[in-house]
């Protein structure tokens, strides 16, 4: 997993609430057995017509946002299906950070496994950042994970909270399976204990 330290990039505004993972990556693209190559189908049904032509009104099709690395989104982003194809598609497109008032739990977890930083901020902050994102390609936001801040193009700074363990893993690009396997002793002794206490499990 790639490290996430700081990111300065274009932010695309997506004010719609309840953007679900079926919108982020429709089911027909879940038939892959790989993690890569999904970026071209990110937001497929909002982004293309049935013949595969780009819909010019969709934000990521507009010249200013084609290289966006940040999304500023409406409430409850990533709700619905647990498909990790959603963060895989975002990452493959080049999105490394999503900022919203709230995220669905499973999507939120999945982001951290893929080096994507989901940031939760209050409505007033989202309103300000959404306004900033609407300025287009000249307005670059900066996200600083170490200091837990998002700065708008005009220098407004917003502090965000993050779980210290997740921050540590993102900053260092750590694979948490490796970290857990270091605790094999604790897992073994739990299993021994449970074989006594709840043998039917």
């Amino acid at each position: 997993m790639d490290k996430f330290t700081t990111l300065t990039g274009i932010a695309a505004p997506m004010p719609l609430v309840n953007i679900d993972t079926d919108m982020i990556i429709p089911k027909q693209f879940l038939k892959t057995i790989k993690r890569t190559g999904l970026g071209v189908n990110l937001f497929d049904e909002m982004r293309y017509d049935r013949e595969g032509r780009e819909l010019p009104n969709f934000v990521l099709n507009q010249p200013a946002y084609r290289d966006a690395q940040i999304l500023v989104a409406g409430d409850n982003f990533g709700c619905g299906s647990s498909r990790e194809h959603a963060p895989w598609a975002l990452l493959d497109f080049g999105i490394r950070c999503v900022i919203s008032t709230s995220f669905a739990d499973i999507f939120f977890n999945n982001c951290f496994k893929n080096g994507i930083l989901p940031i939760t901020l209050p409505q007033e902050a989202i309103d300000a950042l959404m306004e900033d994102a609407r300025k287009g390609a000249n307005a670059r936001m900066t996200v600083d994970l170490e200091n837990q801040t998002v700065s708008s193009s005009d220098g407004q700074e917003f502090h965000f909270d993050i779980d210290p363990f997740r921050k540590h893993c993102l900053l260092n690009g750590l694979d948490d399976i490796g970290l857990t396997m270091e605790k094999a002793g604790a897992i073994d002794s739990y299993e021994t204990q449970m074989a006594q206490a709840r043998p039917w499990v």
Binding site: L30, I33, D75, S82, K183
Partner: protein, 476 residues
């Protein structure tokens, strides 16, 4: 960690505490996973990850695999899966199950079906367990008083490799449904009414315990319907404390404990309830008597209303949701003020992990007995598992569906998500017993109205959405 000797604990607290393997200074825990259910769509990359790192499945005896999302439900599927990508995914699951030694129910096994129907049916799901699956509707298993939730593919790999998950504890939320349900009102109506009340983000960051007289009086099938849609209310998991109804359902299932182990298990299961005075961070109470047969009109499960209502206008919503409501109405092709019962439908889908169990099929068949689908309405009944299908056939339900003009299919996820050939055509409108009415969910530009099996069956006969209570009276 709460001290069980002095602090009253919720059901969630108890199951959590019983599964903590390790606790870090920051409070993050390593949680032991008792059951891991695996299907073909969210697992290939996880098994590939194990191969690339030379890791094994830590506890194959706790892992069950079954293909469900991609599989065709037509009777000719034993000849093989036509769609190449789907076939590759199912073949990959075959190979992975064999190579890593996990219990597997292949496409043509009678035990095959939707993973969340198969787990309980085979007795893999038991009270007090932790259950995960790379699928958000894993919440279903919470009906047994098991802590069950969906995970992503990276976490699937983590569980395969270590039988644990790194977790932060969620908050406790209680949803109590008091009193009794009126005739014609089912578990599906209850859960849609709950989501309409709390919103799709109302449970975010929480584990919901459903309780109250209405929940107590539900069958296991009904309880599974409720917990299945906990995720649609934003909750990580839904829970219902186990009781005699639960124990009766579990007793004698192939993987349920037997003999002395059954007695020991039962003794522990009986302690699995929230203690008097346990703390809940959020409490929602609904009166059973206030719940009507409920349907969705929009493209989010929270867009749910009693069938007696009319389609709302965008201006009826608070500021942040006006645009979403406008978009929903346009997508659904509906005008504000239209009576919900005036909405004509083209298709009926009965099935899914929400409503694909035997009780659901019986309820739909009761409405359909001696009746036919309206002209221009197509219908599909997809049992949740091969065993549900066999049971329904034994009871003659298949003939009722076939006589009514429905297709009687083999088990799978089918049109709930349309990853297989079962899909809606653009602008086709469907009365569906599934769980998500998202844009494109059942097919590109397809229009989904969520409802109970009886409401979907009645809508199919009437040709439009209908109040099943009036339908029953008029058609008596």
């Amino acid at each position: 960690m709460t001290n069980p000797e002095i602090t009253p604990r919720t059901l969630y607290d108890k199951i959590w505490d019983a599964h903590v393997v390790d606790r870090s200074e920051s409070g993050t825990c390593l949680l032991y996973i008792d059951r891991h259910l695996v299907h073909e769509v969210t697992s290939p990359q996880a098994f590939e990850g194990l191969r690339m790192t030379g890791r094994k499945v830590h506890a194959p005896e706790r892992t069950i695999a079954v293909p469900d999302h991609n599989v065709p439900t037509t009777l000719d599927r034993q000849n093989g899966i036509e769609n190449e990508e789907s076939r590759i995914q199912v073949d990959a699951l075959d190979r992975n199950a064999r190579d890593f030694g996990v219990e597997y129910y292949p496409v043509n096994d009678i035990r095959q079906g939707i993973v969340h129907i198969v787990g309980p049916e085979q007795g893999w799901t038991l009270p007090g367990m932790t259950v995960v699956c790379g699928d958000s509707h894993t919440a279903t298993h919470g009906a047994f008083g098991a802590l069950a939730h969906g995970i992503g593919t990276s976490e699937v790999e983590h569980v395969l490799a270590t039988q644990t998950l790194i977790q932060s504890k969620s908050k406790n939320m209680k949803v109590e449904i008091t009193g009794r349900l009126a005739p014609g009102v089912t578990a599906k109506d209850v859960v849609l009414a709950i989501i309409a009340e709390t919103g799709t983000a109302g449970g975010t960051g929480h584990v919901i315990e459903y309780c109250g007289e209405v929940i107590r009086n539900l069958s296991m099938e009904g309880r599974m319907t409720i917990c299945n849609m906990a995720i649609e209310g934003g909750a990580r998991a839904g829970l219902i404390a186990p009781d005699e109804t639960t124990f009766e359902y579990v007793r004698g299932r192939p993987h349920a404990p037997k003999g002395a182990q059954w007695e020991a298990a039962l003794a522990w299961w009986k302690t699995l309830h929230s203690d008097e005075g346990a703390h809940f961070d959020k409490i929602v109470t609904l009166r059973g008597e206030d719940i009507a047969p409920t349907v969705t009109w929009g493209t989010s499960p929270e867009d749910a209303l009693p069938i007696t209502a009319t389609v709302p206008a965008p201006e009826d919503f608070q500021a942040g949701k006006v645009d979403a409501a406008r978009r929903s109405l346009e997508y659904m092709g509906l005008k504000p003020g239209t009576k919900l019962t005036d909405i004509a439908i083209d298709a009926v889908f009965i099935g899914s992990c929400t409503n694909g169990r035997i009780e659901d099929l019986r309820a739909a068949a009761d409405v359909l007995r001696g009746r036919k689908l309206a002209a221009n309405v197509r219908g599909m009944v997809v049992p949740g598992s091969g065993l549900v299908r066999a049971q329904a056939e034994e009871e003659g339900l298949d003939q009722i569906f076939i006589d009514a003009g429905f297709e009687w299919r083999l088990a799978g996820c089918s049109m709930c998500l349309g990853m297989n050939p079962d899909q809606l055509a653009p602008e086709e409108r469907c009365a569906a017993t599934s769980n998500r009415n998202f844009e494109g969910r059942q097919g590109y530009k397809g229009r989904t109205h969520l409802m109970s099996p009886t409401m979907a069956a009645a809508a199919g006969v009437a040709g439009h959405l209908v109040d099943v209570r009036e339908f029953a009276a008029e058609n008596a």
